[in-house]
Subunit: 363 residues, 4 copies
Amino acid sequence: MAGSVFGNHFKISTWGESHGKALGVVIDGVPAGLPLCEEDIQIFLNRRKPGQSKFTTARAEGDLVEILSGVFEGKTTGTPLSLMVKNADQHSKDYSNIMDKFRPGHADFGFFEKYGFRDYRGGGRSSGRETIGRVAAGAVASKILGEMGISLCAYTKSVGPVEISTFDKAEISQNDLYMPDAKAAQKARAYLDECISNQDSAGGVVECVISGVPAGVGEPVFEKLDAKLAQGILSIGAVKGFEIGDGFLASKSKGSENNDAFVSKDGKITKKTNHSGGVLGGISDGSDIVFRAAFKPTPSISQPQETVNEKGENLSIEIHGRHDPIIVPRAVVVVESMAAVVLLDEMIENMSSQLSFLKEFYS
Amino acid sequence: MAGSVFGNHFKISTWGESHGKALGVVIDGVPAGLPLCEEDIQIFLNRRKPGQSKFTTARAEGDLVEILSGVFEGKTTGTPLSLMVKNADQHSKDYSNIMDKFRPGHADFGFFEKYGFRDYRGGGRSSGRETIGRVAAGAVASKILGEMGISLCAYTKSVGPVEISTFDKAEISQNDLYMPDAKAAQKARAYLDECISNQDSAGGVVECVISGVPAGVGEPVFEKLDAKLAQGILSIGAVKGFEIGDGFLASKSKGSENNDAFVSKDGKITKKTNHSGGVLGGISDGSDIVFRAAFKPTPSISQPQETVNEKGENLSIEIHGRHDPIIVPRAVVVVESMAAVVLLDEMIENMSSQLSFLKEFYS
Amino acid sequence: MAGSVFGNHFKISTWGESHGKALGVVIDGVPAGLPLCEEDIQIFLNRRKPGQSKFTTARAEGDLVEILSGVFEGKTTGTPLSLMVKNADQHSKDYSNIMDKFRPGHADFGFFEKYGFRDYRGGGRSSGRETIGRVAAGAVASKILGEMGISLCAYTKSVGPVEISTFDKAEISQNDLYMPDAKAAQKARAYLDECISNQDSAGGVVECVISGVPAGVGEPVFEKLDAKLAQGILSIGAVKGFEIGDGFLASKSKGSENNDAFVSKDGKITKKTNHSGGVLGGISDGSDIVFRAAFKPTPSISQPQETVNEKGENLSIEIHGRHDPIIVPRAVVVVESMAAVVLLDEMIENMSSQLSFLKEFYS
Amino acid sequence: MAGSVFGNHFKISTWGESHGKALGVVIDGVPAGLPLCEEDIQIFLNRRKPGQSKFTTARAEGDLVEILSGVFEGKTTGTPLSLMVKNADQHSKDYSNIMDKFRPGHADFGFFEKYGFRDYRGGGRSSGRETIGRVAAGAVASKILGEMGISLCAYTKSVGPVEISTFDKAEISQNDLYMPDAKAAQKARAYLDECISNQDSAGGVVECVISGVPAGVGEPVFEKLDAKLAQGILSIGAVKGFEIGDGFLASKSKGSENNDAFVSKDGKITKKTNHSGGVLGGISDGSDIVFRAAFKPTPSISQPQETVNEKGENLSIEIHGRHDPIIVPRAVVVVESMAAVVLLDEMIENMSSQLSFLKEFYS
């Protein structure tokens, strides 16, 4: 349980470091019969690929995925899917001047204390490149969910203090910040330019909407759908907050405002509002699932910062090299991927919630 | 994995419904040799007991815990600890008029869709009484953490729009809202009185500070310390948001502001600030761990609300009976308990992170 | 993972010691809608109850089960089932003269080394009474399996050197040794009388046949159906061996003899023989599942034995009190119960093996 | 939990098919600081490599392992170790004539029923090549155990009816059957020559001895050391039986014979005999751990056999191509590897069994 395995049914084991030979994921529990090719996964990986705009790192990696096992004649076989992306472009020397210093805002100190030493080349396992395995798994989960009519849509809700005020779904893929509001994107770009010129960085908020989930998914108590989403999302590097539905605002609201009225129309029960964000008591209520993740600003900045080295000496550090001034745009697909993995896992779990389902299955 | 088992090492299995015979928890993985008696657990349970003020329900239950197994001659034996609290006061008839209606803001509809029928008496498993098992487990985890110099302190940070502006630890247990600011507590009481008179309810925010955790605890990737805290906390009924350190505010901050400088003094490495909330890259950094949970307003209100019954008919519902106008004060100990369970679990996991630890253990 | 939780879907957490207040099990993952009452479980518990013949201990406990949670209006709700049996008859003093001595053939020494001290009263958690939780869970699993047309039948195949040579199912419940061969039972009784008169004890073999399991159940690689059965069965105290189908005999056989020919008749594929014992490559093949468990002789004998005490002094021990000269007859229902728990768990797992099953479920 | 992940702490996820691109394993939970290079793993893989004698298949694969992640500057980092072996030699056409027929004694029928279709090229995931991942993981586990003074030694105890009658450890690696008795090996070779000339195959028994395990390892109830060994060993293809210590013979023994007397000498407690096989009540007792695995004869034989095809037609099958007439010699290292994985996992688990261990660790 050292932390790189996730899921009870659709179980993913990710591996790999930023400067190792390759990164990847093994997925155990992929149902048999899913048509799957490398292109299905590549589309997702391309969304997190660096070098897409001036706001993302210039590493020119192709990040091409290979399917090593689990697919036969174009379909999943039910046995483990092994997906690998080779590391093509390794500039280890960029990091050599910081090798014994603990970068502020990074996991360096924690890794050193935990393991006694650490891979100082760009974060090793705590690098953002670790998310390659998550996104590859998310591509598979999303394809399966798609077969059941479920779609996920994540986007940048805010960049630093700049928040969207309109929502145009088509716009999301039109701008390099993945914001559904072109004007907000323009302002955000100006904000980021300023950050860059100040050798500084920015954070932001990613929002995700999941449509098509039937009511009844999620387990009571510890495996609540929103609790597992929270774990999945907070497990993404740099995420410092998670909220579902009205989230923190709900704490200021009154019961009469926050409760969503149920209404029945044409034999279908829905809710008049969606303050709940699609989850009540940990179980999906049939409305869209809506949650947000707060990302802190990129910790790697080229301004001089105070820190300490492994010998315990106080000194200054300047982090040069290729770093995103904001990771939010590239994190959008990571959030969507983790949500897909969590949701699929809970949907499989739900298949045995009634005895009548078992009896029908085995009749 | 139906959701009532939590933890990899200190593994808790909770059980019981609001109107069943009893509730409890089985804890597998309690280390042997801990002095433990019922009083140790009762102290925690008393903090969540109803009937303590006009803002909490009037159910007069004693909620007395019994240790059924796992303790011999006053010490834990290393085998499962079974803890039980009998349900003394069951007013089932209070709920009979709502038995086929889906209460807004509750899990009724989700349970019905998931299981095909449901225990309509006060929520059954989705009732707040479910937390008895969590709190009993949390009492044990806290005692073990205490033996290692770790202490947890949770309190009410805000009630509806009323937030604390000072922090006086001694004050927490002095007021019935568990707020560390007497003046804020007074304002909060006025706000709650207004809610009650309007047949309405309020939410709030609980904050928790954990002191004494050494750096290095938490697993990279999916079992990050904050990710598991997020799951644990979101798994508490009515929680809609979680944040650690600066949380959502960090998304508006800049890297130069959000990064905490490391500093070395007298051979000890600390941080000048604690924007991280004590966790970097999912691993404890040696500072206090600070997180917040947003609770929505109690969904049970006596105002008429629109809803639907099991037949799909639109109608109105009024929920009478004993309900807290706010659950936050009673949830304080639940938040603290879940945090203790998560932290202890990760601390045990961390014991095998280095080969040298294994070699020393088995030498 | 301290060892008292078992199963991935139908997850059981057992607890309790021989001389504590009570023993029990919490089952998470019981599908909703199963009609269940205490009598369903009591029937199973009665089969393992002591005091049924001179070959079993004279403890007169009723071992009456209570359902504490998880059933509403006579049906399972989908939430945890908590089952408890109180310990009525505790003769602690019987054990006081052996409290610091390690009984040969028992877990005393291992427990002492592991935990630093131990419950010396009759074995504590390593007592045969621990199986109460398993049997209660097995009763529930068996009832669910029965709803799907699956039945389990375990019986005593041999007592010491006395093996059955005929098979009469009706005879099993007719003799106190649960042997399906009345003549063998008679010989076995004579053998046991001899053991008793020599202050000695005997072992034996339990065989279990499971009928009605469709082909395709079991997961490849580590969660093979027979591998999980092996874990489940070896986890029963005193079991020293497990074999499926021809078992150890298969190692002496030739491929041409051991392979079972497939044959198709009236659209149904079966096997001409069943050397495999119903499992091929870890997956059920549609034939009866047949396995055996070897039980060692009861380690508690009243003959003087050499041993060591906690101080490391060599000395002699005589174990008096109420002990079965053979545990096999009472273990028959334990074997059947564990097999039911394992099989049900794998049958639930199998429900998500094909994408088409998910699509059908959520359509 | 689709079955390709094993272990709670030293958690292995194996992947790959006999005729895919590659096979491998991801190991999460490798303690940091272990010196590790590819040669450490290659030594183990070479022991299971085909083409070593006329009794093993002639596939000329190199089976060269690559370390893809988890090692930095020659030492494990504490993050996942990804190990891969490419499939070099794929003669798919050898299998084309049997693609729609269910081979007797194989998992073909079960896979077809479970997944709706199957990889017909040499068994896919149910092929013996699947064990590459296990052996690679076992090499790592064995190296860690070696650092703690624990050694494992597996060997062929019998081939068909030919059993060893002497034990010469040095002889094991001297003969191509891995038998510790040169004379028995000679007889076994004659027996296998006869099998080959009759287009038939043989089974056998592998025995494994683990030395140096301290008392106290293993968890009570379901995670007993022998129960987990049984799962691990039965999960190896073709294993039909497992026994520890006297195993099935113990069922015919008497308590006075089977109990091992404890004896104290020079402050060390040992046992006079080892009928228990080093495990009592599921916990190691300080003696050598001794267990056996029964392997059935290779199911692939070139004699004509009756079977059925996917359309349900009765017909005959002849399986040509490269098949071992016995898999036992190549399985020796697989048994040893699985035992190492299980034992290491339980040894890590045991580190938190006493509160005093936690306190010492975190002081």
